[in-house]
């Protein structure tokens, strides 16, 4: 079986808001969702800002269903909210999906729920024995039993968001969660596409969600020196491909898409937004910390997606870059695009909406794929904001600062994760 797979609904919860068209407009305007961190006191951290979700009302979005999901973690709430919007966008609140519950599945790139920091820390501090210089598991357990809550702990499991969505929409089909770091939701959408293509499901709810804006998440990235520390000008801190970039900006949120077999979409008279035609996944298999200097993993992922889509580089009208704003990623990604696209590399427009939304980690790829679909629909490419100083290592066309009108029929979207995980998707206007 080799069925065509189309996108029929999209929803997102982002640092620029949650309404599909409004966020899209703000992206085209080059607006920034980045501001000083409010979720916790980051005032003494090397990085004191982030891209927090704004204007998201979980109860209003879920309506009568919000109580069923009252225990959901922050990122599962983002996922549920985006799924609710995508479901409606696909017309599934009004129309029968035409698919049985067992042929309706969920495949997310969902992150873990944020840690119960206050109570976790209380136990850790109480449990440390400074004289013996080791953890006293007995003292730790005394406090941990008292302060930690079973449901809140289990809701951190990375497969919980997918289960919440399955319960909400009665999706009894294949249910999976991938957590391949920053590549997760691109991977989820690609894998969900394959599940429909081969006939294991007719409809999949797919995408991703993540929130790592918590004291330990930011600690982890700050220790890696992966984050921008431009505290005096945080709205311009995310500077993909710019020579003065100094790291990525941590964001949070979710992007969810409803995808289905073409037959299913046509049978129920759905509005078809685009077709997913190619997917490639590879591993660098090089080092834990660095990308291979030749960009071999990203090159192989892009080539695999092109081959899967049966299109050539000249067919690609826009590349939604991983474009994190770290020194290494942007250099290697540009190099890899140069290798795959050859002489065409300087002609194909490339941009990174992370310049405005920050990096949603596991949720990033899904949000970026949604921007690709909107670019196809409207014939306009979102800009890379904050681009001012060209970097000789990044010599391509990054659509600096202003959106660009263009005929966009086919888009390629990249996501790369820590540890050498590379995923590429290709979407095309539906014909």
């Amino acid at each position: 079986m080799n069925r065509r797979v189309v996108i029929t609904g999209m929803g997102w919860v982002t640092p620029l808001g949650c309404e599909l068209e409004r966020v899209w407009q703000r992206l085209l305007n080059g607006e920034s969702g980045i501001a000083p961190t409010t979720i916790f006191d980051a005032g003494s951290y090397p990085t004191q800002f982030s891209a927090e979700v704004k204007d998201f009302d979980f109860q209003a979005t879920l309506g009568e269903h919000s109580e069923d999901h009252g225990t959901a973690s922050r990122n599962a709430r983002f996922a549920l909210g985006a799924a609710e919007m995508a479901w409606k966008h696909a017309g599934l609140d009004r129309l029968e999906s035409g698919a049985t519950p067992e042929m309706t599945g969920v495949y997310l790139g969902g992150g873990e729920g944020p840690i119960d920091f206050e109570n976790f820390v209380a136990a850790a501090v109480a449990g440390w024995d400074p004289q013996a210089r080791q953890l006293d598991a007995v003292r730790w357990a005394e406090v941990a039993y008292e302060r930690l809550d079973a449901v809140r702990e289990f809701e951190q499991d990375p497969n919980c968001a997918a289960h919440h969505i399955a319960c909400r929409f009665h999706a009894e089909g294949p249910n999976l969660n991938t957590l391949t770091a920053c590549a997760a939701s691109t991977q989820a959408i690609g894998e969900a596409t394959m599940i429909i293509r081969r006939g294991d499901a007719d409809v999949m709810i797919t995408g991703g969600a993540h929130s790592m804006i918590h004291p330990l998440g930011v600690t982890g990235f700050n220790r890696l020196t992966a984050l921008s520390t431009r505290n005096d000008s945080c709205a311009t801190a995310s500077r993909p491909f710019d020579a003065t970039r100094d790291g990525f900006v941590l964001g949070e949120g979710a992007g969810i898409l409803i995808i289905e077999s073409l037959e299913n979409a046509q049978r129920r008279g759905a509005r078809i937004l685009a077709e997913i035609i190619g997917y490639g996944s590879t591993a660098d298999a090089f080092r834990v910390t660095d990308m291979h200097e030749t960009g071999r993993g990203p090159i192989a992922a892009m080539r695999a997606a092109l081959a899967d889509a049966k299109v050539a580089p000249q067919d690609i009208h826009y590349i939604s870059a991983h474009g994190t704003g770290t020194e290494e990623n942007d250099k290697i990604e540009s190099l890899a695009i140069g290798t795959v696209f050859g002489d065409l590399a300087k002609k194909v427009p490339i941009s990174s909406v992370k310049s405005m939304l920050g990096h949603l980690i596991a949720g990033a790829g899904a949000v970026e794929l949604i921007t690709c679909v909107l670019a196809i629909r409207d014939g306009i490419i979102p800009p890379t904001a904050n681009y001012s100083t060209p970097d000789p290592n990044c010599p391509l066309d990054y659509v600096p600062n202003k959106p660009r009108k263009a005929t966009v029929r086919t888009c390629l979207s990249n996501s790369f994760g820590f540890g050498g995980q590379n995923d590429t998707l290709i979407v095309r206007a539906f014909e």
């Binding site: 916790f40 850790a124 400074p130 919980c160 399955a166 081969r198 220790r223 071999r296 540890g419």
Partner: protein, 446 residues
């Protein structure tokens, strides 16, 4: 299942009853028990103080010398996966860089790295409390944590690469690096269902033609304070602390919960012609896969519906995919956590699938001596299932007497039995999240 036939050519279990397929399988046949009072830390204050631990595991035995530095940033879960990978590729006779560098294999690589994929199940890796507690304590005064002090200096007590110890995809990351797997790569985080899903999805990848060979399965350690606490708070654990070896009692009367454990398994699956060309030994053929979600409990961390609906659905899909009916199943492998309501629901789901034959089809349950290995448990059970179909022997369930009449499965108990097995249905489900999966394994005929 697919135009391409997929066969199993390498098995790499790392478990409390044995590391490597020979030790593990003999342990199962002998009824070996890996559950003890926990040794890694003092469990005295925990309601459940037992666990399965893989003792004496040395990472240096499983990586090239040049990779020893990188092994310093491996959480326990990663160590288990890397050890399992070494066992699996060795068993399969795949000459990876790791094996060649270590002198564990001779000759030239016998596969194309770009066509070698990975799909590895992982849990929510618990931070090393020792390292984190020391750092957090350094940012506290009189037992009160000061986040300003943490941001300014305390966090610097963590190693710069701290975060990379705990990202779930680091199992696959390290395994793909040391064994040159540059093909399609994935990390599934679906609780105890993770490795069934990883093996099934890897099989689909080979069927689609994007890889010739895949390393797949999963690993996790729940034998640490944080995981033990979580499972304990959730009321899932046995409190039979005075008799650890008899604590985990799958499908038995009087069961009072499961036992935390650690371990994992990775297996090599391969496109048939690829395996034939390199002269690989074929254990069995993978012929069916099904996945489902049990949506019984809206919004709560899931549990199976009382009738095991999600599990039955996944199993029926797998049978359909294999092109066989339930009448052709000769053996079922079950999760059997030893948790009262979960075992009952699971048994109901299995009985529903088997229909009238439920009283006659043998069921294999191995958690009695292993406990719950989290994301690694499915792969361990899968390896046992492959060995059963390969050898025609079914190892006994331990601690499953007296049987609970409400479960009513035909468990093999006492000693191993010989059986003619053509098809095995191997099933699993996540304790949180409702993910269910099933695989069908077929005896290999030349």
């Amino acid at each position: 299942m697919s135009p391409q036939r997929v066969v199993i050519t390498g098995l790499g279990p790392v478990t409390p009853i044995g590391v490597g397929v020979a030790a593990f399988w003999n342990g199962l046949l002998e009824g070996r028990n890996g559950i003890r009072r926990i040794q890694a830390f003092d469990p005295a204050r925990f309601a459940s103080q037992m666990g399965g631990e893989v003792l004496g595991l040395q990472i240096a035995d499983y990586v090239p010398k040049s990779y020893r530095k990188a092994s310093k940033i491996m959480a326990r879960d990663i160590v288990l996966a890397v050890a399992a990978a070494h066992q699996a590729v060795s068993d399969a006779g795949l000459r990876t860089r790791c094996l060649l560098d270590r002198g564990d294999a001779q000759g030239e690589p016998n596969f194309d790295p770009a066509r070698f994929g990975a799909n590895i199940g992982s849990g929510l890796i618990c931070a090393d409390l020792h390292e984190l507690a020391e750092a957090l304590h350094s940012a506290s005064e009189n037992g009160v944590f000061d986040i300003r002090k943490w941001g300014a200096e305390g966090m610097n007590n963590l190693t710069p690469l701290w975060l990379l110890k705990f990202l779930p995809n680091m199992l696959a990351c390290h395994v793909t690096i040391v064994h040159d797997a540059e093909g399609p790569s994935n990390t599934l985080t679906c609780g105890e269902a993770s490795s069934y899903l990883a093996i099934g999805e890897a099989c689909r990848g080979i069927a689609r033609g994007v890889a010739d060979v895949c390393i797949c399965g999963g690993a996790e350690s729940k034998a640490n304070p944080m995981a033990l606490l979580r499972q304990s708070l959730g009321g899932r654990l046995s409190q039979r602390n005075d008799a650890p070896e008899s604590a985990c009692r799958p499908f038995a009367l009087g069961r009072d919960g499961t036992v935390v454990s650690e371990g994992g398994g990775l297996v090599i699956i391969e496109e048939l012609e690829h395996a034939r060309k390199r002269g690989a030994r074929i254990y069995a053929e993978l012929v069916g896969f099904g996945a489902a979600n049990d949506v019984f409990q809206a919004g709560q961390p899931g549990q199976l519906s009382p009738n095991g609906r999600g599990l039955a659905l996944a199993a029926r899909k797998a049978l359909k995919d294999a092109g066989i009916s339930a009448d052709q199943v000769d053996l079922v492998t079950a999760s059997g956590y030893g948790i009262s309501h979960q075992d009952k629901a699971e048994a109901a789901g299995i009985r529903e699938v088997l229909g009238q034959r439920a009283a006659d089809v043998p069921v294999m349950s191995i958690k009695g001596g292993l406990g719950n290995n989290g994301a690694g448990s499915g792969a361990i059970e899968f390896i046992a299932a492959v060995m059963a179909v390969h050898s025609g022997r079914i190892p006994p369930a331990i601690n499953s007497q007296p049987p609970d009449p409400e479960c009513a499965l035909k468990l093999v108990t006492g000693g191993p039995v010989d059986a003619k097995i053509e098809y095995v249905l191997s099933t699993g489900f996540a304790l949180t999240g409702g993910q269910c999966a099933a695989l069908v394994i077929k005896r290999w005929h030349e």
